[in-house]
């Protein structure tokens, strides 16, 4: 939004209407003369704004501040009730036109992205320096829109445009009561937002480029709804005189502008914060992509979308419709990003979704690390209890993360522990102390529940390995790797056999093999299809788990159950290594009720030119299914090795009960 503003002079659309702008300025001067008594030096507001900005280096902060200012300007709008209603009505008339406008806006945005853009701060100073009505981007935008509307229809819109410009002039007027107004505006904005959500409109906070259009469409409705709240707003407003004069119109405009600004901001952030490589060109492409269909009439767009989703569902197996699907790169770009999220959380979210971070322990540690960073950088809003403030922040972050990938049992437990410590904080705790405590607790959790637990398990399993054994394992696990490497280092002479598969979880077995061989552990690789062939020579099977469920079932990487089944039928003992922080209170008897669907393209053999799966998307009768987990029933598992003891699977409830009494979680 800021950038749009800074480059507005270069904008062709803006230039074509320079005549009109001149006209507007004349009217502005007239308005100034009228309100001389209230007029303050224009420089005052700009200085206050810059002062606000200096300490806050966050991108979010920078983006947010000018918005506040615009809300201030909204507050200052005194005498335009009638005109605004007219404005609104003209808007409603031109809803479909708004679509077109939004599309153009988006295009413009994309173009500017492509251009070498000024840095955020430069843009900011540009805003603060300029005195003219143009400085307020929202106003500017409305003005532009109305210009476009005028071509097609009414003189009413021109009228409203003038009103908007007038409002900007009065931005200068209210700098006196700057802070007061700001507060009132904040409240009003909150209410407006609530209203919007109630009405089922798009949440202003979480918007992508795509949502911009939607929001613009909804603005008129929102404004109408906001009228209902206006009475309240008036009561809250600390400037009774102004409120009296234009309470309703203020609220309307405020809501409208806020929505628009939010939309623009979100659009910009979506582009800026996208972690995907090749930021700029991609963003441009994306913008174009979203714009093109929108340039047609909206009903058509809808049908196209429907068709698309239908196409997708065709390629999903019917009984697995309820399962969470791995996001491909395209859908990853469309995920709404809340601007309040900590960058570490967003980074982790993308890493989780793209499976860069995978494996139960790695995901847990990464989550805790991100939470630690979040706690460290968390600034407590005024008059908020630390625990409550952070809890709200945490909930938003987790919602985002879980949308990227469903939480593993280890993550759920880690969050449960974190929440537990958060609620244990005393009410009047100092912010610094609270942060320190929480960070220490996170460190302690990683150390005790993951690292030391792994060490204990490694020691226990080592006692079960004897010289000359051949140990079969499946897939890749940090814990199993640690056990085998440490057992080898302790002088045990055994061989490892790593079973893997070409795709899915089994594909990581080659990584496991690489790591084992690098550490000097003699190892063999077999495909999972050959497991029954190799099984008679195996002495023990050592498997890892993603979670141990309370009924004793083992939730593991897909293929685990098959290996355990073959081992059972060959009478080979099956050991499952699993720290107690992966014990889950869920009950699951098969892999259908809960699972994750991985990328179906993984199933396609890319090295094979003539792979029959190559163009599965175009074949409606072909549905590749790449499941992530499977469930091993307790009857197939000889023992579970935990840091507490070697236990039968059926003792999972005891461990959970024990942990509950020990840690209160």
């Amino acid at each position: 939004m800021v950038i749009t503003e800074a480059n507005a002079d270069n904008d062709p659309i803006a230039n074509t209407s320079s005549k009109k702008r001149r006209l507007r300025r004349k009217r502005l001067n007239a308005a100034r003369a009228l309100h001389k008594d209230l007029n303050n030096p224009a420089s005052l507001i700009s200085t206050t704004v810059t002062n606000h900005l200096v300490p806050n280096q966050e991108i979010n902060g920078i983006v947010r501040k000018p918005q506040k200012k615009s809300i201030d300007s909204n507050c200052s709008k005194l005498d335009s009730t009638l005109e605004n209603i007219v404005n609104m009505s003209s808007k409603e008339d031109s809803k479909s036109r708004d679509d077109v406008l939004a599309a153009r806006e988006a295009k413009k945005l994309a173009k500017q992205k492509g251009k070498p853009k000024p840095t955020q701060n430069e843009a900011q100073t540009a805003v603060t320096k300029s005195d003219t009505p143009k400085e307020n981007s929202a106003t500017e935008k409305i003005g532009k829109e109305n210009k476009e509307t005028k071509k097609l229809a009414t003189s009413e819109s021109a009228k409203s445009k003038d009103e908007v410009d007038k409002a900007v002039v009065k931005t200068d007027d209210i700098s006196k009561d700057d802070i007061k107004a700001e507060r009132a505006a904040k409240k009003a904005a909150k209410q407006a937002k609530k209203k919007k959500e109630d009405g089922g409109d798009a949440c202003a906070d979480n918007m992508t480029v795509k949502d911009v259009v939607e929001t613009l469409k909804d603005i008129a409705n929102v404004a109408r709804e906001v009228q209902d709240v206006t009475a309240k707003v008036q009561a809250i407003n600390l400037e009774p005189k102004k409120a009296e004069e234009s309470g309703k119109s203020k609220a309307e405009l405020r809501a409208e502008r806020r929505a628009k600004q939010e939309a623009q901001r979100a659009a910009k952030q979506a582009a800026v914060q996208q972690k995907a490589p090749a930021d700029k060109p991609e963003a441009k492409a994306k913008a174009d992509e979203t714009v093109k269909p929108k340039e047609e009439k909206s009903p058509k767009v809808k049908s196209a979308e429907k068709a698309k989703s239908k196409q997708q569902s065709v390629n999903r197996v019917n009984w697995f419709q309820h399962l969470h699907m791995q996001q491909d790169k395209e859908s990853l770009k469309k995920i709404p990003i809340n601007s309040n999220l900590h960058p570490a959380i967003i980074k982790l979210g993308v890493q989780l979704a793209s499976r860069v971070v995978s494996g139960s322990n790695a995901r847990c540690i990464a989550l805790l690390d991100a939470l630690k960073k979040m706690v460290r950088d968390y600034t407590l809003p005024a008059k908020t209890e630390f625990a409550r403030g952070l809890e709200a922040h945490l909930a938003a972050s987790l919602e985002f993360l879980w949308a990227m990938r469903q939480p593993s049992a280890s993550q759920t437990n880690a969050v449960k522990c974190f929440r537990h410590h958060l609620t244990q904080l005393p009410n009047n705790v100092d912010e610094f102390d609270a942060k320190k405590t929480l960070q220490e607790e996170i460190d302690r959790y990683i150390r005790e529940q993951i690292d030391m637990a792994g060490e204990a398990i490694s020691l226990t399993v080592r006692n079960k390995i004897s010289d000359g054994d051949i140990i079969l394992t499946y897939g890749c696990s940090s814990l199993i790797e640690r056990i085998l490497v440490e057992a080898h280092a302790s002088g045990l002479r055994f061989r490892a056999a790593v079973a893997g598969a070409r795709v899915g979880a089994g594909a990581s077995a080659r990584e496991m093999l690489r790591r084992l061989v690098a550490k000097g552990v003699p190892a063999t690789y077999v495909d999972i299809t050959a497991v029954s062939y190799i099984m008679p020579t195996i002495n023990k099977v050592l498997l890892s788990a993603s979670a141990l469920l309370v009924n004793g079932s083992v939730l593991g990487a897909v293929g685990t159950a098959q290996v355990a089944l073959v081992a059972k039928s060959f009478n080979v003992p099956v050991l499952v290594a699993c720290e107690t922080h992966k014990f889950s209170e869920r009950v699951q008897t098969d892999a259908f009720v809960y699972n994750e669907i991985g990328d179906p393209d993984e199933l396609v053999d890319k090295t094979d030119e003539n792979s029959p799966l190559k163009d599965w998307r175009s074949n409606p009768n072909l549905t590749p299914l790449n499941l992530t987990y499977d469930v091993t029933p307790p009857s197939l598992v000889t023992a579970v090795v935990t840091e507490l003891a070697i236990l039968p699977c059926t003792s999972a409830p005891v461990v959970l009960r024990f942990k509950l009494s020990e840690y209160g979680i």
Partner: protein
């Protein structure tokens, strides 16, 4: 304190009192050690007890019950270690706790026997293996309760301990038949239930018992006969064998055999491991448990 002295005390208890199992004898020996050998510090006492346990493990007696009993005893009495100020006080508390522990152990067998009575119905045929004091007591109690039932007792080589069991049952007026170990499969289809004792109960809920029990369990499962294990809870031990090979070697062979350095593959193992899948119920002084409940109890005891 000498190793031999401890061994003497231990063997003397076993020799003089026919009715005392090795585990109880071991615990009584430990109590005597605390009483007789005066020491000045907790650390010294600890070392003494450990030495005593080690000595008993090497007296050519089955080790399973000794090790689990001693482990539990140490756990039970040494919990007091940190709570009191002076050592004398501590020693007194330990002795007191030790006696309480011993008393509960002695009561345990009666409790287990009582629990088993309802499972012995009139006219049923029971197969048992080797000699178990607790099984014997349960059968005697059932007989006293005027239950009429028939018992098949295996000879249980190599020490033919089944013969003694048979003699004791007949003496009590119970209809008992001595059978060959090799006749287990033949007899199995006639019997209604299998009732055995145990030398040790593992964390998995399986048992370590006189060799032949595993085969008995397999046959019983195949013919769908319930297998009831009668055992006191002091035999619960924190080992988790994965298979027969994984059973600790000192459990399988007498210490004299191990010391002699002979090729173990040519030696007969004394015990085998019966996995929990072959066991229907465990009758203990803690109640009647399913095999999976054993680890629950062990976690309660040790964590």
């Amino acid at each position: 304190m000498k190793k031999e002295e401890v061994q003497d005390i231990f063997l003397k208890i076993l020799r003089e009192e026919e009715d005392v199992s090795a585990g109880v004898a071991a615990i009584r020996t430990l109590l005597t050690v605390i009483e007789n050998y005066k020491v000045a510090t907790v650390r010294e006492l600890d070392l003494n007890l450990q030495l005593a346990v080690d000595a008993m493990r090497h007296c050519d007696q089955p080790v399973t019950a000794i090790s689990s009993g001693c482990e539990l005893f140490m756990r039970f009495i040494t919990l007091a270690k940190l709570d009191v100020k002076s050592f004398d006080e501590c020693e007194q508390i330990m002795l007191q706790r030790g006696r309480i522990f011993l008393d509960t152990l002695l009561e345990a067998r009666g409790k287990v026997a009582k629990q088993a009575i309802p499972f012995i119905s009139d006219g049923c045929k029971i197969l048992t293996h080797s000699r178990s004091r607790v099984v014997l007591q349960a059968m005697l109690e059932a007989s006293k309760a005027n239950k009429r039932f028939q018992v098949y007792v295996t000879m249980s080589s190599p020490d033919n301990s089944g013969e003694l069991m048979h003699k004791q049952l007949v003496a009590a007026g119970i209809d008992a038949t001595l059978i060959l170990d090799s006749a287990i499969g033949y007899i199995m289809e006639q019997v209604d239930l299998v009732m055995i004792g145990a030398e040790g109960v593992t964390e998995s809920g399986g048992i370590i018992n006189k060799i032949g029990t595993y085969g008995l369990g397999i046959a019983a499962l195949e013919l769908k006969k319930p297998v009831y294990v009668l055992t006191e809870s002091f035999k619960f031990s924190r080992i988790y064998p994965l298979n027969q090979r994984d059973v600790p070697i000192e459990f399988k062979y007498l210490s004299s055999v191990l010391k002699s350095g002979r090729d173990l593959s040519k030696q007969h193992a004394l015990v085998d491991y019966t996995p929990p899948a072959y066991i229907t119920l465990l009758f203990t002084d803690l109640g009647i448990l399913t095999p999976s409940a054993v680890s629950d109890e062990l976690i309660k005891l040790y964590l």
